[in-house]
Amino acid sequence: MMVNSFSQFESPVFLTIPLILLALILPWAFYPSRLHDDSSNRTLTLQNWFIGRFAKQLLASSTPKVHLWATLLVSLMLYIISLNLLGMLPYTFTPTTQLSMNMGLAVPLWLATVLVGFRNQPTLSLAHLLPEGTPTLLVPLLIIIETISLLIRPFALGVRLTANLTAGHLLIQLIATASLAFMWIMPAIATLTSILLLLLTLLEIAVAMIQAYVFVLLLSLYLQENS
């Protein structure tokens, strides 16, 4: 029973077993691995084409050092896009609506990019905290602002993903409820609301894919800054 609009975001538990674990493992089942005899089929070919295309596009303008992160970034993108798209199915739980999960992805990865930068090129990493050509009087202020902007990045990454998905699911639920409520009272309004619901669902599918891409793209940009 829906107690309030946010009930759909509660982490599901069944007989004290947190079902979010199942939701997190589920995308693994959708990506076939190599066949035992190294042959290929259409699904594998399509999958490999997509992964290769995405990796090339993401890392085209980056140094070879960044290419070492290709596996991590591509698998992260596939994982988040799978979780988001599976969440668009009715009555499924979307783990990426949980801030804890998104912060769990964002903070360690962002911290890794910062530490990689400070370890490999400490001078350049520190120099990045002051934009080139800053007037002398503004230097301390800008350094503080750039430091705050650096520290806020993981929160922005996590909250962006959470907020986009949560807002989308909430809107879908509200408009679907409205459409159902109007169905017997004002069928014409219900029809218009259903059309709006369809358009919104299409938008949310796009948002699900775009937000996964943006998450990974920003991480790769942060990495390029520090490499």
């Binding site: 520190l126 905290l129 800053t134 350094i143």
Partner: protein
């Protein structure tokens, strides 16, 4: 390209040679100086002896 040090440091003399917002080294030194000043301020206020209130007998 932003941040190149090639031949630009000879333009700066004195203080500007080490602290400027054009070269990588200059920008790094500015950042370190700012962080050092903030740290010094924090340590100063933390370690400052607190005045004990005078109790009347």
């Amino acid at each position: 390209m932003a941040g190149h040090d090639h031949g630009s440091q000879h333009q700066f003399t004195g203080f500007a040679k080490y602290f400027n917002s054009y070269t990588i080294i200059g920008r790094r030194n500015y950042v370190l100086a700012t962080y050092g000043s903030i740290l010094a301020l924090v340590l100063f206020f933390k370690l400052k002896p607190k005045k004990m209130p005078v109790t009347e007998k």
